[in-house]
Amino acid sequence: MWLADVFFYLFAVLAVASGAMVIMAKNPVHAVLFLILAFFNAAGLFVLLGAEFLAMLLVIVYVGAVAVLFLFVVMMLDVDFAELRAGFIKNAPLGLLIAGIVLAELIMVLGFRLVKPTTLAKATVPISTVAGIDNTTALGRVIYTQYAYYFEAAGLILFVAMIGAIVLTLRHKEGVRRQSIAAQVARNPKTAMEVVKVPSGGFTVPDKVVDNKPKEKVGA
């Protein structure tokens, strides 16, 4: 049992420390790397709790996709972090005040639980482990049946996000030449070629090949 405790404290300390480093690191790339470390430690905590599936999701989705995206954004955007930090210092007293209030509230809530065992008893732990079923199977059994409603609703929310991103950012630029495979395949010598007479010593611009503008320029 003591091994689990050792690992709990290892993961917990590292998670908190790397969380602090995320906001304290000077280099934004380092901040994102510390964020990844924090995710890994949180995944470790999930494993200790017996939630392997969540742990794997955290690593695959957050580290594999979200944090890498963050890295891209941080590296591609030229953000002046010194300027951001100036605002941080200016607003620090207010931030500290709010943090202090929230901390006091948390201590009140948690302290209450520690002081009074009756209150502690009210905080129930509803997740019971079922013998012989690992939690991936357990999730798979309920997510498409009992929780199908939530599952579908989450799908609709992602759909809204997709439509929103398209409708707010997509611009159809004029004059952009897109590949149309159907049109390419449908070409035949009649439509693709045009025989023009070039006057000697002059020039001509073919009709169909360049744009669709009606033009028939023959010059000398």
């Binding site: 509803p126 939530y150 609709l156 929310i157 759909f159 707010l168």
Partner: protein, 483 residues
């Protein structure tokens, strides 16, 4: 297949709206990208909403629930859903011509409204913290996008961004509250929470009360009750006017319904705790809405403060925690939705050759230029001010009566005083229209907008003749809860 469909019969309306949104997306993508096609999609979206409304009306009177209580179908839900569907349909109707003028008529708008409406219906039917949150997010995300729908307009983009950032913050608070409630009751379903959260122990359970407070903060943001109203004037002013009309009607209905359902079905055991909070929200909203609107010159900002005040009035009867109280909330919301849609339709009709105008002074002398529109707007303003015998007076009557019966005299007196203060700025619009030197005439009112204006004006004028259908429907709906 039929057996499966029959087993989920209570949620057919939701399915029709959600599937309708998906089908219309495909329709819009595969049809040419022009104004005419976008208008066709808008009409089809209204048709989808109509079908969903018809399905709701044809459901059996006895309520039922699905997915272990996550989805509740009852009279209360049906009343609110009909309101939300009607308000959404009106919002789509109002948008068509206005968006064409501003060159943003796109098929995505009706689709997003449909998705938002699906979210609202989920919120109204929510019987579980999870479905509450998912419905709320489905609705809110769609609203953030439509707020910024005129993406080339700085104010519209600002409105969308502001709404998004503050909305995300409020969702965070709501989730924090939900997690505390879950932690201290061990349940996410409202029925189970109600079983645990009762008695003297629950009243003294600080963690549970903390959870309740954060939950209510999140919902208070969505209904823009003071002190969580800061976003409202900016978003209402910045968003395109048809979108503002939508914001002030359907999402408010859904969020109020959610609030009523959460407090009456999940926390009846600790009513004393939430009654204080709701009473504070009501008083603060009524007062701030009344006083802050006085100095406004922009009519959209004025109506934003008006909607804040109206939310305050709607919360007054809820404080009593009685059947009459919930009935008062329902009647108030029904009448409010009609009035606010009519008022915003008048704002949409304020357009000249050079574009839409939003200043109150532009209405000067409207009575000479466009008598019917001035008369309709005057009727709506008198109604919002609560002058008998118009509908707005009866809304306030049914809102304050339960409070007085239950002995909340101070709350009622503050409410009546706030409505007297509010009457000033409503009547000022009437004065500007009828007694000021005429400004330049507006372009003629379009048919769709005129239709909404006339329906709402006729409703507020004639409500007094036959109030019983609405009152009885609200009474039946309010009987869905145990008090």
């Amino acid at each position: 297949m039929m057996q499966f469909l029959n087993s989920i019969a209570p949620m057919w309306p939701e399915l029709v709206v959600a599937v309708g949104a998906l089908v219309l997306t495909l329709w819009g993508v595969f049809r040419p990208d022009n104004d005419r096609e976008a208008e066709v999609v808008s009409w089809l979206a209204i048709l989808v909403l109509g079908v969903a409304g018809w399905l709701i009306l044809s459901q059996p009177a006895a309520g039922s629930s699905l997915f272990g209580g996550a989805f509740i179908d009852d009279g209360f839900g049906r009343f609110m859903k009909i309101l939300a569907l009607g308000a959404s349909a009106a919002a789509i109707l109002l948008s068509i011509d206005d968006f064409r003028d501003h060159k943003v008529l796109k098929f995505e708008y009706p689709v997003l409204i449909l998705l938002a409406t699906a979210g609202m219906m989920m919120m109204i039917s929510a019987g579980d913290l999870l479905s509450l949150y998912l419905g709320l997010e489905l609705q809110s995300l769609s609203l953030y996008v439509v707020a910024a729908f005129r993406r080339d307009d700085v104010r519209s983009s600002e409105a969308g961004l502001k709404y998004f950032v503050l909305g995300a913050l409020s969702s965070g608070m709501l989730l924090y509250g939900a997690s505390l409630v879950y932690g201290f009751t061990g349940a996410t379903s409202f029925a189970q929470i109600a079983q645990v959260a009762k008695g003297a122990n629950a009243m003294a359970n600080v963690g549970l009360v903390f959870g309740l407070v954060f939950l209510l903060v999140g919902i208070a943001f969505k209904i823009s009750a003071v002190p969580f109203h800061m976003w409202t004037p900016d978003v209402y002013q910045g968003a395109p006017t048809p979108v503002t009309a939508f914001f002030s009607a359907a999402p408010k209905v859904a969020a109020i319904a959610l609030l009523v359902r959460v407090v009456t079905s999940a926390f009846p055991g600790i009513a004393g705790q939430w009654q204080q909070i709701v009473a504070f929200l009501a008083i603060a909203s009524m007062l701030l809405g009344a006083f802050a609107a006085i100095g406004q010159t922009n009519i959209k900002r004025l109506l934003a403060y008006s909607s804040i005040a109206n939310v305050g009035f709607a919360l007054v009867p809820l404080v009593t925690n009685t059947k009459e109280g919930v009935q008062g909330v329902l009647i108030y919301m029904a009448i409010y939705v009609v009035m606010t849609l009519g008022a915003f339709a008048c704002v949409i009709a304020m357009r000249r050759e050079e574009g839409s105008v939003e200043e109150i002074d532009e209405l000067a002398g409207l009575a000479e230029r466009n008598g019917p529109m001035a008369a309709a707007l005057a009727a709506l303003m008198f109604s919002l001010a609560g002058i008998p015998p118009l509908a707005g007076f009866w809304a306030k009557f049914y809102a304050f009566m339960p409070a007085i019966k239950s002995g909340y005299y101070i709350l009622s007196v503050i409410g009546v005083l706030a409505s007297v203060v509010g009457a000033y700025y409503y009547l000022r619009i009437v004065k500007v229209m009828y007694f000021d030197k005429p400004a330049k005439a507006f372009l003629p009112v379009r048919v769709k907008v005129g239709f909404v204006i006339s329906v709402s004006a006729i409703f507020v004028l004639l409500f007094v003749i036959a109030p019983s259908p609405l009152v009885n429907a609200a009474s039946t709906a309010a009987a869905s809860f145990r008090y």
